[in-house]
Symmetry: C2
Subunit: 216 residues, 2 copies
C-alpha cells in the first residue's frame, strides 16, 4: 500500500536512529569508497568508508565529499586539514565486511589498514597511503573546505592528482567500465551491494529515444 | 597491466570529451535520479537526470546536489531559483532509456515528462511535479545555493518535505530496502546499471569484524 511521510512526521520521530537510517538510505545507493589519510606527527594511517563522493568537474579534475559533524573523532578531516593529502580507494564487492569495519570508532593510534585487513601502499609524492588491494584508486589534494552551517557538516573539495588502476579499465572514449572493477556500493549506514553489468546509451537528442551502444 | 595517469596527463588530454568521460566515470556508480521542477510563468514542467545527489544530514533532513555550469540552458536551476520547489524521483532500472533521454537539450517550452514518456503527478502543497511512475520520490524545498568558484558549479542544498512510496519499502529500523525498488544507477555520462540484492552488517566495533544481519 502506498505511504506518505511528511516533514512533520520526519521531525517528530522519537528515535533519532530511525530517522538517521530512513533519511540516509533515502538518498539512494552510492559507491562505498575508502578514504586514506596520514598523520605525519604520530605516523599513523587512517582509513574510513564514505558514501558521499561526488563529481564536481573534469577540467580541473575536482571531486567533493561530505564530512559529518557527528563522526567523532574525525581523524580523516584532521589529517586532511594538516597535510592536504588523501586517497580515494574503490574496493571490490567481496571486501564489503572489511569496508564496513572501517566505520568503527577506532582510537587515533590504531590504523584501520591493520585492524580491518588492508595493506598500505605509499607512493612518491603522495603523503596519504593508498589501499594496495584497491583495483582503482587515486590521490587527491585539498582545494578548499566549505562549512555548511545548516547542520555543521563540511564539504571537502579536492583535485585529482594521480590515478592508479590495477589494469586499464577505461574504454577507448575514456569511460571506466565497472564490470571488471566490481565495486562495492552502499545504501544507508550498513547495507552493501554489488552492481550489475553496465549498459551504455547513445548521446541523448530531443527528437528520438537513445539507443543502446553495442561498442562499449 | 597496471597503469598510472598523472595530473599532467589529465590536464594535457587534447580531447575534452575523453577527459570528461574519464573523470566523470571515476567518481563511481551513483543513483540516477530525476529532478522535477516547474516554471510557473510558462506552465511548463522540467525533468532532468542527475547523478550527484548526496546525503547532508537527517535532522533537519537535508540533501545536496551539484549543477554543472555547462548544462545550458539550465532549466532545473532557474525553476528552483524562482519557486524553491523540486522533486527527487527514483525510477526502476527498466526505465534507463527514458531516464537517459531526459539529458537531451530540449527547448524550454517542451516538458521532458511528455517527451521522455513520464507522467506528471501534482500534489497539494508542492509546486514541482513528481514522476507518477517513480516507486520512491520526495519533494524538496530550497535552503541555499552555494556557488563553487573553482569551476562555476553550484551546490543546491534543500530540505526533504514529503516522501511518497508506492509501497512501504522501509524496514522496522527505518532502512529503505532497495531490492524491491530496483533503482537505476549510472556511471559516467551514459552507462546505466541495475543493483544486486543488499546485505546488511552489524554496527561496526573496533574489536571484531562486523557480521551479516539475518533480519534485514
Amino acid at each position: 500500500m502506498a505511504i506518505t511521510i511528511t516533514r512533520d512526521q520526519i521531525d517528530g520521530f522519537d528515535d533519532d536512529r530511525y530517522r538517521a537510517r530512513l533519511i540516509n538510505s533515502l538518498s539512494g545507493i552510492k559507491s562505498a569508497v575508502l578514504l586514506g589519510t596520514y598523520n605525519e606527527e604520530t605516523k599513523v594511517s587512517n582509513l574510513a568508508v564514505f558514501s558521499s563522493l561526488f563529481h564536481l568537474g573534469a577540467n580541473p579534475p575536482l571531486m567533493g565529499f561530505i564530512v559529518r559533524p557527528d563522526i567523532s573523532p574525525r581523524h580523516t578531516l584532521e589529517n586532511i586539514k594538516n597535510n592536504g593529502s588523501y586517497t580515494v580507494n574503490i574496493l571490490k564487492s567481496d571486501k564489503m565486511v572489511n569496508i564496513h569495519h572501517t566505520s568503527a570508532r577506532f582510537p587515533a593510534d590504531v590504523s584501520e589498514f591493520d585492524a580491518c585487513g588492508f595493506k598500505e601502499l605509499f607512493e612518491a609524492g603522495t603523503i596519504a597511503p593508498f589501499v594496495e588491494e584497491a583495483p582503482l584508486k587515486w590521490s587527491m589534494k585539498l582545494v578548499r573546505i566549505v562549512d555548511i552551517p545548516e547542520n555543521g557538516t563540511h564539504m571537502i573539495i579536492g583535485s585529482i592528482e594521480k590515478i592508479l588502476m590495477a589494469k586499464d579499465f577505461t574504454n577507448d572514449d575514456g569511460q571506466i567500465l565497472y564490470d571488471e572493477v566490481d565495486p562495492c556500493l552502499v545504501s544507508g549506514l550498513d547495507c552493501y551491494h554489488k552492481v550489475g553489468k553496465g549498459k551504455r546509451f547513445s548521446y541523448a537528442k530531443p527528437d528520438h529515444c537513445p539507443t543502446e551502444l553495442v561498442r562499449r
